[in-house]
Amino acid sequence: MTLSRRGFLNAAALGTAGTFASDMTRLDLLRQTSWADEVKKQGKRVILLWLAGGASQFETFDPKPGRPTGGPYRAIPTSATGVHISELLPKMAARIQQTTAIIRSLNTKNADHGGGATIMETGRIKDPGIEYPDLGAICAKELGRLDSAVPDYVSMYTSTEGRRKGTSGFLGSRYAPMFLSESMQPENIRRLESISDIDHQDRLALRDLLAKKFTQNRHSDSLGSHTQAYQRVRGLMASEKLFDIEQESTEIRAKYGPTQFAQQCLIARRLVEAGVPFVKVARAWWDSHGENFETHRELCADLDHSMSVLLDDLRDRGLLEHTLILTFGEFGRTPNINASLGRDHFAAAWSATLSGCGVRGGACFGKTDEDGHKVADGEVGAGDLFATIFTALGIDPNKEYHVGARPVPLSDFGAKPIKDVLA
């Protein structure tokens, strides 16, 4: 049989390409339940500010001024009555009541970078028998749309230390992140100059035909996922400008400022505004075994400014009520101050924040003891945090995926949402 490339182009133009260009607000008829449709229609988004290496809860959201473990920085009042945070976060202090809930009672039990990151990426401990998807992949699946013209999971991690790409696990490559590591612009998504646009569309159509023939009489989730990923290529190629902050006004760029993290936060805002359901911005590297206080003086200034401007910008655009902004990393840092005036790895009593969508601003859940050695009240784990995140987004945390015959709930078995921080 002779294949006509032009014929495939026409088919693509009538079918697939038209779908790629669809409006994000269109009803997704492919989903299984009307409830799930409703979630998608609401256009919920997530920005995870991943504090890679482990930020100190003492120098951020759970200060212990005057205690032997407290360090030199003061606690300052926030806009939420009775809630104090570190003086290193003055801009966030002014925004807590309006935007942000603090969880101070995480005990995630693993103070190893890799193990801790796996737990905080997937909401559960590693299971050798199954590769769990991370939060981004789950949100991409639950909030993204099959016909999306934009990527549905973007992960930025430009520092090299502790760099982790993220994983879509058993959800397959369709939900794998678009990963930006070397620059703030996606690499390899531009069409090669040696290939014309028509040729490119022809190639896609040809690949599509061959894939369909190959998958005929074969049933495989991974094959399906692979094909779906390819089907989105044209849309992803068209998304390049979303990563270009030069498209923003001088005023907006000046508000975010010059640091790389701030600029990545601006990209994150552009992405969620365009409909990307999950964006992860990793700010590395907080692993302050030496000079903890100087390190946090630098990095907290970056976090405080970038997060505050991001929240304001989302609010001004009417996006904050639909966008959940998260801050956490793989763990916190020790109460003990070591001889290098550093703090080491610590997962037994640390903090995370949720801001925006579905969150009760000003809520402060859980307590650590007076020196921050252990959780004194309201101990929660990563699974509970994930159940809270899903609930804030309107996703049923008890929903199950099936890996073969094995049911896998979105949040870990036994996990419960923290109602006190939910709106």
Partner: protein, 348 residues
């Protein structure tokens, strides 16, 4: 009796509950007044049979106490991360005056050789001079940018008076040193020591280091600058202790010293009054002292100390050093051995 750095031996090793950040010694005694991570000043007589720190009372500081000087008998002045200077009655151990001195964290205090002027430096990047008796601010000046070239907050850790009291030096996080005429506040010179500042643009994307110690030579012509060298893994203080010595009037770097024995941060520098040696100390996990021959730049003697040292005080004869730091105070002597008694002439 002259000192001999090669005779260095630790004579006291005293545990304390907090981290001692700064120290001043009451003249002609073993009484030390140190500022600490418990937000307090303490006094301790290290020559007592069982030395115990006694905290000062009253409404004191609200953060780490990072500088202390003794401008007059029975008077101490302390500075803290809370931005305050507090004058204290040493006998009563109570505050007598508080001054809101800086907007951000005070990193160090020094006192002029005549005891009349106190200089403070802080992360608002200002150096301020204070009348040690009245608490009046005399002047302020800065040549230090608040933001590093990499767009993060800078820090101003180090300040020193010259021994003749004419000059003052300030040193910041990125390795910039400004030298000032103390009476007028005019800037008279700058020197640059960027090797003390590590910016990691790739792996960890933040910085570490900076100038942590400054000292003028006895003739005031040279200035020594201390910190830590270029660090590969900035999670740790994992680079050689580093000192640079400049003839600041000529703008010449005389020595660039990377300590091949100790990976550590230099927290304090003291010149021998004769100008023969420079004592440096600091630490990472542990502490160290190094005596360097000022002329050659070679170490004369160096040894470990049991803790990361934050500041030193020396006795009047410069043969005993009192080091304070991470949960410990150490006393080391380096006295020259008495010359042997003249022996009887050999019989023919």
């Amino acid at each position: 009796m002259p000192s001999d750095p090669t005779k260095l031996q630790k004579t006291k090793d005293i545990g304390i509950p907090s981290i001692a950040m700064c120290v001043a010694r009451v003249p002609n005694s073993g009484r030390l007044i140190f500022g600490s991570s418990d937000f307090k000043l303490h006094e301790i007589d290290v020559f007592a049979e069982k030395p115990q720190p006694t905290p000062f009372g009253g409404e004191g500081h609200q953060s780490y106490v990072t500088g202390v000087v003794l401008p007059a008998p029975n008077v101490a002045v302390s500075g803290s991360y809370d931005g305050q200077l507090i004058w204290w009655d040493v006998e009563k151990r109570e505050p007598t005056r508080k001054v809101k001195a800086h907007e951000l964290w005070i990193r160090r205090l020094v006192i002029s050789p005549d005891g009349k002027t106190i200089a403070s430096v802080a992360d608002d990047m200002q150096c301020k001079l204070w009348n040690a008796e009245t608490g009046e601010m005399l002047r302020q000046f800065s040549d230090h940018k608040p933001i590093t070239p990499h767009d993060f907050p800078s820090m101003l850790h180090a300040v020193a008076f010259s021994p003749d009291g004419k000059f003052l030096a300030t040193g910041d996080k990125v390795g910039h040193v400004a030298i000032w005429e103390a009476t007028s506040g005019s800037k008279v010179a700058t020197v640059e020591a960027p090797g003390l500042y590590t910016w990691d643009p790739r792996q960890r994307r933040h910085s570490i280091g900076g100038i942590r110690a400054l000292a003028f030579s006895p003739d005031s012509k040279w200035i020594a600058v201390g910190g830590i060298g270029q660090i590969g893994n900035i999670d740790h203080l994992d680079a050689p202790a580093r000192i640079e010595i400049f003839d600041w009037q000529k703008g010449e770097r005389k020595h660039e010293l990377n300590n091949d024995k100790f990976k550590a941060l230099v927290e304090d520098l003291v010149f021998d009054p004769s100008g023969k040696w420079l004592l440096s100390s600091g630490g990472a996990g542990d502490g160290f002292v190094t005596f360097t021959d000022v002329e050659t730049g070679k170490p004369i003697h160096q040894d470990k100390l049991p803790m990361h040292v934050h500041q030193l005080a020396l006795n009047e004869s410069y043969d005993t050093v009192f080091a304070v730091g991470h949960h410990k105070i150490a006393v080391c002597e380096f006295k020259a051995t008495e010359p042997p008694a003249a022996s009887e002439p050999a019989k023919p």
